[in-house]
Symmetry: C2
Subunit: 202 residues, 2 copies
């Protein structure tokens, strides 16, 4: 295919879109062509939203989530329990937990997981900052909610080990069968974990 | 979840992204959070690409594809066969056919398919413009390459009927089993079409 078949302005947008996660060349083309077919106002609106993103959002200096204010809405909320800190990998995990609507403590965003192969050690994620929060003595429980992936588990185990000498209760997110799932379709690792973590009926 | 948990600038971008095809609330959140985690320069670059899109791209006045020049690179290419016109639904279909690298004629973009339920009749897509191109007498073959969906087939059949009295050869894109597919996994409609369109071996 001759390169000039795709107009350069379109090609540039396609290239930029493929940098995003989960967006390949085909999806990027489809998105770009849709944007082009729709009114120019929609593209401008999206462009403005992108431009305003970094300038108006910063990291909360307490929990390190993305926020327009410092401290963030959660850290500033006096109705939330500041003695309970939920540790997550990324701000997106905080949003997922907030959606469950049954956690009323504070958060701490690590901004990553331990990945020695990629050069990410304890100094590269916000662990020292977590320890500093615990030093105030106000925190009673650290609830580790990293993903149940290999790096997520490794990070959780490292944290458990490192915080062992602090006088706080350390808890983990429960692992098991997803709600509504037929156990026939659960993978054996999930099932093994669900069996060993079986809970008493009340 | 209290609404202020998601910063308004982030929420605005998520809302704008969900307007794109195939992007739901979850994907939009993931994309927006990734953009936010990466350097501001990348978001700015994407914003500029979006802004420049409509201002630098127009429709080719001959084949109606998106192009920075009028006529487009294909219509202006003297090495291509102007007596053969491939009719497609959208500019994205043109790109797909160009990738196959075995079509060397010109194109005509309908910018839609007939969809009476949505109020899209023959006057809403570029059929009159196609007829006008045929009136010049230069075109010998109209190759209809609409999708093999219900509206795509309906549009093809309408075109065949409407162009019947013109002295041009009308051809259709072949339907059959995709390359490399095990026929066990082909759906019965595709298989039926592949059987009735079976070709002689040479």
């Amino acid at each position: 295919m001759s390169p000039q078949v795709i107009p350069p302005a379109l090609e540039r947008l396609i290239q930029d879109l493929t940098k995003l996660p989960g967006i390949g060349k085909k999806t990027a083309s489809r998105l770009a062509l849709t944007i082009l077919r729709r009114p120019a106002g929609e593209a401008r609106e999206l462009a403005e939203a992108l431009k305003g993103l970094h300038s108006s959002i910063q990291l909360c200096s307490c929990c390190f989530t993305f926020s327009e204010n410092d401290p963030c809405a959660i850290c500033a909320d006096l109705k939330r329990d500041s003695s309970l800190i939920c540790v997550v990998e990324q701000p997106g995990d905080l949003l997922a937990i907030e959606k469950a609507e049954n956690f009323l403590g504070h958060y701490h965003i690590l901004h990553g997981v331990l990945a020695p192969m990629d050069g990410i050690g304890p100094g590269e994620i916000k662990i020292k900052e977590l320890e500093r929060r615990l030093d105030s003595g106000e925190v009673k429980e650290v609830f580790i909610a990293t993903s149940s992936t290999v790096p997520g588990e490794a990070t959780a185990n490292y944290l458990i080990d490192r915080l062992r000498h602090k006088s706080v209760l350390i808890t983990r997110l429960a692992c098991g069968i997803p709600m509504g799932m037929d156990i026939k379709y659960a993978d054996k690792h999930t099932l093994a974990r669900a069996i060993s973590s079986r809970s008493k009926t009340t």
